[in-house]
């Protein structure tokens, strides 16, 4: 009896999982179609970029400078054991551009902006605003969801660049101003260690992929939430948990597949 119940539960979970995947795929297609078909919601997309960007600006800058400073400090102590502290710029640059920049930006963005988007859409479900749009023959996916998803997708690479810039600044402050490294050497090794195709492009690619994941997960969770206070809460926490996990798993997959 217990075995039978367990098998039933497993079956239900499997069916739910596959159904969810199908619904997410359908939802994504609806967003893509809404973005490609007129009418184009340029104003609403700019507003979404502004909202997501401004929401995340302070935390991205502060985290960037802090992560850069810590990286500079750790890098200096470890490199100095081998007498290679002059390579601090290169070590900091590669780890930030290839790995830490895209991943940490996406995680911070998820906690700050994506969760807010999920909560906003979920509260619109709860207060009947999406049904109100439907009754006005306005597709909520076209009017609400697509601009927000595109806005998040556009803003993440920009925030990634901002995070990396501030992290460089933090590492420079610690390495050059505090620990006494030569500023010219720091910047030269930083520049010479990086190529566009192996480093900058990979950073942009990761940012773009994370942007797609986060925007779909946040909007889907909000859009399909239950019309209750618990529904808003579940959409928000679900977005953070699922998106964070997806970012880390995808980061590993990209790194393993492309060897970067």
């Amino acid at each position: 009896m217990n075995q039978s119940t367990a098998i039933h539960a497993l079956g239900h979970r499997s069916v739910d999982f596959v159904t969810n995947l199908g619904q997410i795929a359908r939802f994504t297609l609806q967003i893509v179609r809404a973005l490609l078909m007129p009418r184009y919601r340029v104003r609403r997309t700019i507003d979404a970029v502004f909202d997501s960007g401004v929401l995340s600006l302070a935390i991205i800058c502060l985290s960037g400078i802090t992560v850069g400073a810590v990286l500079g400090l750790q890098g200096f102590y470890n490199l100095s054991r081998f007498g290679a502290e002059g390579s601090l710029g290169a070590v900091v640059g590669i780890s930030l551009v290839r790995e830490l920049g895209p991943v940490l930006t996406a995680l911070l963005f998820t906690g700050r902006a994506a969760s807010a988007v999920a909560a906003e859409i979920a509260s619109m479900v709860t207060t009947g605003q999406l049904d109100g749009l439907r009754m006005m023959s306005v597709d909520p996916i076209d009017f609400i969801v697509s601009p927000k998803a595109l806005g998040m997708l556009l803003v993440l690479p920009l925030l990634n660049a901002l995070f990396i810039s501030f992290a460089f600044f933090g590492a420079y402050l610690v390495g050059v101003s505090y620990l006494g490294l030569d500023g010219g050497q720091f910047l030269t090794t930083l520049e010479s260690s990086m190529t566009f195709e192996n480093d900058i492009a990979v950073s942009l690619l990761k940012s773009f992929v994370f942007g797609v994941l986060v925007s779909i997960i946040a909007t889907y969770r909000g859009y399909t939430s239950l019309p209750t206070a618990e529904g808003v809460s579940a959409a928000t926490t679900g977005t953070v948990v699922v998106a964070s996990t997806a970012i880390l798993l995808t980061d590993y997959a990209i790194t393993a597949l492309w060897g970067v």
Binding site: E120, M124, T127, G128, Q129, D131, G132, L133, R134, M135, M136, S137, V138, D139
Partner: protein
Amino acid sequence: MVRLDRTLETRGDFRIAFDGVRLTLGNQQVFRGLSCGFNPGQITVVLGGSGSGKSTLLRLVGGLLRPDAGSIRVAGQEITRLSERELFRIRQRIGMLFQGGALLDSMTVFDNVALPLREHTLLSEEDIGAEVERRLIAVGLPETGDLYPRHLSGGMNRRAALARAVVTDPDIVLCDEPFSGLDPINVRRIENLLVEINRRLHLTMVVTSHHLASCMRMADRIVFLVDGRAVSGTPQDLLNSDDERIVEFLAADGGGPAASQDPVPSGRLDLAGDAS
């Protein structure tokens, strides 16, 4: 100006008809073969206890819910099997006033009321501005266009939502509990607005409410939902009914003939369940 030219004559076919509608939500069977109709150009009030399916009925008319079985015809068109895209065409002729207003809280009152015009017409911003101002004045909310819904009281919110619901001159207006949570002055104000809109535009209006006095004053017909089915007739039929469920409902509200100030036509309550 690409707004549909809807003359009073074209409204004549805007009848809504339910036939044998069954609907189960979760474990609750809401409708067990609901059959009723809503006449064009009239105000039909849907009455019933809490959980009797009044709001659900409106959501079925708007295609926001689909029944498990049965037929729902709006203006002669069966809507239960239409796709979402096809439903959008039907909904362009329906205005809905939601219980909580359902105004978009990220937009000003002006932008909320202007939204259907911006989405479905080619009117210039100037014309849209004039039309929205006219509608806001009509519902007693002049100079509120720059406010956000969070700045409005419950009554103002409801009136702004009403302005949005009728701004495109729809053929059908669905009002979900327009009086709930309002003070007597606002109840009377919204009631008068609904009646005035109906009399002036001859549109088909379906109103759900618990507010018996207002219902009796404004209704041309009443649909009473009980046990997942509908009983319909004129307000006087309701008052004359000896059906104990209706008598109990009226007595519990303290309503009755005294609740209605205006004379209403007499007749027998149509227990067959179809408002003809």
